[in-house]
Amino acid sequence: MFEKIKEFASEFFVTGDPLIYGADVGIALTLISIVVVLTYFKRWGWLWREWLTSVDHKKIGIMYIIASLLMLFRGGVDALLMRTQLAMPDMQFLEPEHYNQIFTTHGVIMILFMAMPLMFGLFNIVIPLQIGARDVAYPFLNSLSFWLFFWGAMLFNMSFVIGGSPNAGWLAYPPLSELSHSPGVGQDFYIWGIQISGIGSLMTGINFIVTILKMRAPGMKLMKMPMFTWSTLSSCITIIFAFPILTVTLALLFLDRYLGAHFFTLDGGGNPMMYINLIWMWGHPEVYIVVLPAFGIFSEIVSTFSRKKLFGYKSMVFALMSISFFSFFTWAHHFFTMGSGANVNAFFAITTMIIAIPTGVKVFNWLFTMFRGRISYKSPMLWTMGFIPCFVVGGMTGVLLSVAPADFQFHNSYFLIAHFHQVLIGGVAFGYFAGLYYWWPKMFGFKLNEKLGKWAFWLWNIGFYVCFMPQYFLGLDGMTRRVSSYGWDMGWGPLNLVSTIGGFLMGIGFLFQVWQIAHSIKFMERDTTGDPWNGRTLEWSIPSPAPVYNFATLPQATEQDAWWEEKQRREQGQKPAAQPPLEPIHMPRNSGIPFIKSFCWFVAGFGFVFDWLWIAIPGLAGVAICMLIRSFTYNTDYYIPVDEIKRTEAALRGSV
C-alpha cells in the first residue's frame, strides 16, 4: 500500500531536479504566507467581497495586471535559465529535457499569460473611462473572462510541479505533441490551460467590441474616438475571428490524445501539417492582437507628451483596421518550408509584405506628431522613443523573413528568434510598459518614481540590443532555435555570451521596476488633479482613482481630444456647460459565480489532464449548475442613489 502511494507520488509530482525542489519550497512558502497574512489581518471576507466577486472593470483590470506581472516574472526566469544554459558551449546547467520544457513554457506564458492579460488589464482600466461609459457592456462576463484566464493560467503553471511541463514548443506541433511522442500529461496541461483561458479571451473580445460600438459618450462619433479605443476595437475584432480557430485546433489535438482520433497523427490517415496550417491561422492574427493595442498606447502618449493633436488620425484608423484585416491572410509565411509550392508561398509572401505598409504609415504618423512638438521626456514617452527604432528594425527583419526563398535559410534559426523578440519586446512589452506608466496614476492615484523608471528603461533598452543583436548573427551562422547546447567547434560561444549578458541586463531592469513600484507606493505623493500628464482624453477628466460609477454625469464628447478642448475653453475663460442634474446610477451587482464557475472549469480540466473522470465530471457539472443559477437570477443590478453620488463626488473633488 505504502509502496503504491510512493510510486504514485513520484509520478504525480515532478521530481529529480534541485531547481524544481527549490521552486516547490518557494511556492509552498508563498501560499502559506498569503494564507497566514489574510487570516491574521482577517482579510478573507474583504478579498472575496471587494475583489474576487467584483464586476468593476477597474478592479478587474488591476487583477489582470497583477497576474500578468507575476507571469512576466515566471516567463522571465525561464528566459534567464535558457540564456544561462546557452552562455557557454557544452554547458551542463539544464538537462536537454528540462530545456525543452522551459522554452515551451516561456513562449506560452509570455504570449498567452503575460501579454494577453496585460493587454486586457489596460483595456479594462482605460476603455470605459476613455469613451465616457460607466462600465463595460457585460460586467458579469468581464469578471468571468478574468477568472477563466486566471484558472487557465493556474492549470498551466501547475504542470511545473505536478505531472510535468509540456515540452513540444509553444505551439505544440504534432506529431511531437501527440500521445505517441509525448505520453506524459504535460501536453494535456497545455491544451486545457490554454483552452480555458482562451474562452475568456474570446468573451473579452466580444465584450469590448460591444462596449466601444454601443456605449460611447453622447456625441462621440466613431471618427472622434481616442486612438487607443480604435486600437482596442481592431484588436478585439481580430480576437473574435481568430480565437475560435485556436479552440477548434486544440480540441482536435485533445481528441487525438484522449479518444484516439486521427486528425494529426502519423497513422490512420491523419495529417500533422493540417495542425500547423490551423494553428497559424490563429497564431498569426494573435501577434497582431497583442501589438495593435500597443500602437494605440503609443499614439496616446506621443500626442500627450508632444502637446499636439495626433498627426494623420484618419490614416492611423485606416492602418489599424487594415492590419486587423490583412492579418488573416498571411499565416502560411510561418511554414514556407512545409512544401506547398511556389504559388502558395508567393501569395503569402506578398500579403506579408503588404501588411508592412500600414505599419510604416503609423511610424511616420508618430514621427510627424513629435515634429515641432514640445516633447517632455517622462517615462511613458521614453518607452515610446525606445520603441520606434526597435520596432522599425524588427519590422525590417520581418520583411526579410517574408521573402520566401530567403526564408528557407532563416527558418527556425536564431535570426527568426531575434526578429520576433524584437517586435514582441520592442513593440508589445515596451508598449504595455509605456501604457502602465501612463495610466498608473489613473489606476492608483499616484505616479511612479521617474528616476528609478529611467534606470529601468535604460537597462531594458540597452539590455535588449545586447541580447538580441548578436542573435541575428548567430542565426546567420547557422544556430537553430531550441538547441539546448552546442560545441566549442561551432564558434557560437562569444556571441552567445554577449547575448546572455544582455538578457541579464533586462532582468536587472525588471528588478528596478519592482523596486520602483515598491518605492513609489511608499513615497510618491498623491495626485489630486486626476490629470497629472495634462492629458487629452476623457479618462483624465475624472478623479484618480475613478469612483465606482466613473462619471457622475455622462460627459459630452463632440470633438477628438474632448478633454483637451474642454481645458482650452476653460483657459479662455469660458464657463463649462451646465451639468445636468444628478440621477440615480444603474450598476451591476457583484457576483461570486464567475470565480466559482471558472474554478469548476479548472477542476474539470485537471480531471481531463489525468484522465480521471471522477474529477472531470463533477467539474463539468459544477459549470452547468453555475450557468443555470445565473440564468435563473433576475436580481442582477442596483441603483446608486443621488445622495451617495453627491457625497462621493464631494470627497473626491474637494469643494469643487
Binding site: A137, L141, L255, G260, G268
Partner: protein, 219 residues
C-alpha cells in the same frame, strides 16, 4: 432582432430627453430595453464566432475526408433516409421557433411556451436520430472515431453540431420555466429572441452539414 428594439428605443429616448442631450442615466424603462438590446448584439457576435468554429471544423473535414485509411467511405456509411428525415425535422423546428417569437410579440405566453415546447420536441427527435445513426455506425459498421482521419473529422463536425443542439434543448427548457414564472418581460423577451436566433443559426449550420458532408459524401 435586436435592431427594432434599438430603433424604437432611440426614438422614444430622444423624444423624452431631448432637453438634456438625448441621454438618460436614470432607471427608466427605456434603459432596460437598451440593456437587453445590447445583450442581443453581443449574442449575435458570439454566433459569428461560432460560425468561425464550424468553418474550421468544415475545413478540417474537407481536407481529411479522403483519408479513410482502408476503413469505410462516406458512400458506404451514410444512410440517407435518416439524414433526410432529420433535415426536415430541424427545418421545421426552425420555423416553429419563429412562430414562438410571433406568439411572444402578440403577448401570448401560452402560445410562446407551446411553440417552444414543439421546437424542443423536434430538436429532441433530431438528436435521437443522430444518436441512432452514430450507434449504428459504431456497432454495425465498426466505424469509430479512431478508425480513420475521415471518421474523426466526421464525428467531430456532426457531433459538435449535435452538442450545440443538445445545449440548446437544456437552455430552452430552462427558458420555458422562466417564462412560466415571470411571463413576458424585457428580460425574457430578449432571452426568447436570442434562443430563436441560436436555433436558426443551428439550422443554417445543418444545411451545410447536410450539403457538404452527406450529399457530397454520397454523390
Amino acid at each position: 432582432m435586436e435592431t427594432t428594439f434599438l430603433g424604437r428605443k432611440r426614438k422614444r429616448l430622444e423624444a423624452a430627453h431631448a432637453d438634456i442631450g438625448g441621454h438618460s442615466a436614470g432607471g427608466s424603462h427605456d434603459e432596460h430595453h437598451d440593456h437587453e438590446s445590447l445583450k442581443t448584439f453581443g449574442f449575435w457576435i458570439f454566433l459569428i464566432t461560432d460560425c468561425i468554429l464550424f468553418g474550421t471544423l468544415f475545413a478540417t473535414y474537407i481536407v481529411l475526408r479522403g483519408n479513410t485509411n482502408g476503413g469505410p467511405t462516406a458512400e458506404e456509411l451514410f444512410q440517407m433516409p435518416g439524414v433526410i428525415a432529420s433535415t426536415f425535422i430541424l427545418l421545421t423546428s426552425s420555423f416553429t421557433s419563429g412562430l414562438a417569437v410571433l406568439s411572444m410579440n402578440r403577448g401570448n405566453v401560452k402560445g410562446l411556451i407551446g411553440w417552444l415546447a414543439v421546437t424542443a420536441l423536434l430538436g429532441a427527435s433530431f438528436i435521437t436520430l443522430e444518436i441512432t445513426e452514430f450507434v449504428h455506425m459504431v456497432q454495425a459498421e465498426n466505424a469509430t472515431i479512431g478508425t480513420s482521419a475521415f471518421l474523426s473529422a466526421f464525428y467531430t463536425l456532426v457531433g459538435t453540431h449535435g452538442l450545440h443542439v443538445s445545449l440548446g434543448l437544456v437552455w430552452m427548457v430552462a427558458l420555458m420555466i422562466q417564462l412560466a414564472r415571470h411571463g413576458i418581460t424585457a428580460v425574457t423577451k430578449r432571452k426568447v429572441n436570442v434562443i430563436s436566433l441560436y436555433w436558426h443559426f443551428l439550422d443554417v449550420v445543418w444545411i451545410f452539414v447536410f450539403t457538404i458532408v452527406y450529399m457530397m459524401g454520397v454523390m
